[in-house]
């Protein structure tokens, strides 16, 4: 049974709120025109049309997803079509695997990521990043102890590269960025994700919230 998620028909985007820069994403999603809520438990998850996993510490959040039994419901919703976007930590959490590490992941996108690939904090940087899918102007990308994509499956679309390594990818309803659009004033990546959410809702995919 489909539940109307918002009185005025706007899409409701959720931000996983176990740890990380949650309020920054909520503010950016609202600036881009969506209703946005923090997702702390399954009831919150049932309310949203799309989910962002924010920046934070991936080892911490994987443990919290397991302890509070949130991993499986997220996987079920995403496999049923709900759009998901992982930024930095979020992309690590949804990757197929983390290279050279025994770190568990949710395996929702066919990529292998390397953690802290650009270096430690002293190598964290702001970069003007060309992202053709978002238009001609480069995107002000903020990388913080960022991962890169070491391997991507054949179905994975590479949307941006830095120093020859993938830093933005999409496979169907799952989007990943190594960088943090929520820390910049440029709302284009948030708008891009909200378009994915609107399309998915239009197609009535992922609307069956009761599967969670």
């Amino acid at each position: 049974m489909a539940i109307k998620s918002s009185k005025d028909g706007r899409v409701v985007a959720g931000v996983l709120a176990l740890q990380g820069d949650v309020v920054e994403h909520i503010a950016a999603l609202r600036r881009a025109g969506a209703e946005a809520i923090a997702v702390k438990n399954r009831a919150d998850l049932d309310r949203v049309d799309g989910l962002v996993i924010p920046g934070g510490e991936s080892t911490t959040v994987m443990k919290l997803l397991a302890r509070f039994e949130m991993g499986e419901p997220i996987v079920r919703r995403v496999r049923a079509g709900m759009p998901l976007w992982g930024t930095c930590m979020g992309m690590i959490v949804v990757a197929h695997d983390v290279v050279e590490m025994q770190q568990p992941t949710l395996d929702l996108i066919d990529i292998s990521v390397r953690r802290n690939a650009f270096g430690r904090q002293n190598d964290s940087a702001e970069v003007d990043l060309p992202i053709p899918a978002l238009g001609e102007a480069p995107f002000p990308a903020i990388f913080i102890r960022a991962p890169w994509i070491e391997r991507a499956g054949a179905d994975v679309q590479l949307l941006a590269e830095r120093n020859g390594h993938g830093v933005m990818v999409r496979q169907g309803n799952v989007l990943g960025t190594s960088f943090h659009p929520e820390l910049s004033a440029d709302a284009r990546v948030h708008a891009y994700f909200l378009e994915m959410v609107a399309e998915a809702r239009e197609a009535h995919v992922g609307n069956d919230r009761n599967v969670a």
Binding site: G20, T59, M101, R120, Q121, N122, I144, L183
Partner: protein
């Protein structure tokens, strides 16, 4: 295309602190403790030779930790590693930056090196966190370039009362700034000893421009939940974990309570997970300490 890469910007320095929000940063003195902290779900560790409770007990001059030890902790975990320098000791800070730690804590827990001035933190690529007892201290540290503030509390005391006093002082003063008439802000900036532009920014946004954590006295899951509900954006636990009788259990329980600080059910589960034999660190009645034994007044 020209390389536009910029490191050490205000945005990436404050940004790392933003990524730590909602998390627990744990003091550790060995690589093994660092792994225990990471396994429990810590978002970062503070690499130290001695935890504050032992610094307090042993006395003497407390300095930046042995760099071999800091490096061995950096090698042991994948989460960010912080380390402390003495207040005003910019050469210790240069060494830690060169070593490559992720965050530098200019800390009152160590013996101050400069009784007048803090480090000019704008000169560094590595971000700094500093302690504060009130909004004046917090804004002066931000003006000096701190990318993160932690309320000081009283480190190594196992007593939450100072932490509560400091976070309330900071939050209340911010709230007050948001409602005072604009013409009062110049005088407020004078009273706070902080730049007017920063005071205007705080008044307009109703928050500091950097992340605010809490430190100094958290010893139980309920302590962590209390501080989060009072407005801390995350928790530093110093002696509270490795001075308890079951560090693994305390570390995990404090992480859980920080995540779900507003859900008493989780606080009950986290507290009960410690078991019947659980003993939090022994605390100190701060009224029995003399002024010279208090750490928080250092570096104002």
């Amino acid at each position: 295309m020209a390389d536009t890469t910029q490191t050490g910007t205000v945005t990436v320095k404050r940004g790392l602190a933003q990524m730590l929000k909602g998390g627990v940063i744990m003091d550790v003195v060995t690589p093994e403790q660092a792994v225990t902290a990471q396994e429990a779900g810590a978002v970062a560790v503070m690499a130290l030779e001695r935890i504050p409770a032992d610094i307090r007990a042993m006395g003497g001059v407390a300095r930046m930790s042995n760099l071999e030890l800091v490096q061995s902790i950096m090698d042991a975990v994948t989460i960010p590693v912080m380390a402390k320098v003495r207040i005003g000791h910019f050469a210790e800070a240069q060494a830690l930056q060169e070593l490559g730690v992720d965050f530098i804590d200019e800390s009152e827990v160590l013996t101050p090196a400069d009784d007048k001035y803090h480090v000019n933190k704008h000169n560094f690529t590595t971000p700094f966190v500093c302690g504060a007892r009130d909004l004046g201290e917090a804004s002066r540290r931000v003006a000096e370039g701190a990318a993160m503030i932690r309320s000081k509390g009283e480190a190594g005391s196992g007593n939450i009362v100072e932490a509560v006093r400091h976070i309330r002082a900071i939050k209340d003063a911010i709230k007050e700034l948001t409602v005072v008439p604009e013409e009062e802000l110049v005088a407020r900036a004078r009273d706070l000893g902080a730049p007017l532009e920063l005071v205007k920014e705080i008044a307009k946004n109703g928050k500091l421009p950097v992340v605010l954590f809490c430190a100094g006295g958290v010893s139980t899951p309920a302590d962590a939940a209390l501080m989060m509900q009072l407005g801390a954006e995350g928790i530093f636990v110093g002696s509270g974990i490795f001075k308890s009788n079951n560090p693994k259990a305390f570390a995990k329980a404090i992480v859980d309570a920080t995540t779900h600080f507003d859900d008493p059910k989780v606080i009950v589960e986290a507290s009960r997970s410690l078991g019947k034999e659980a003993l939090a660190m022994e605390g100190i009645d701060l009224r029995k300490l003399s002024e010279s034994e208090m750490l928080s007044p250092r570096g104002n």
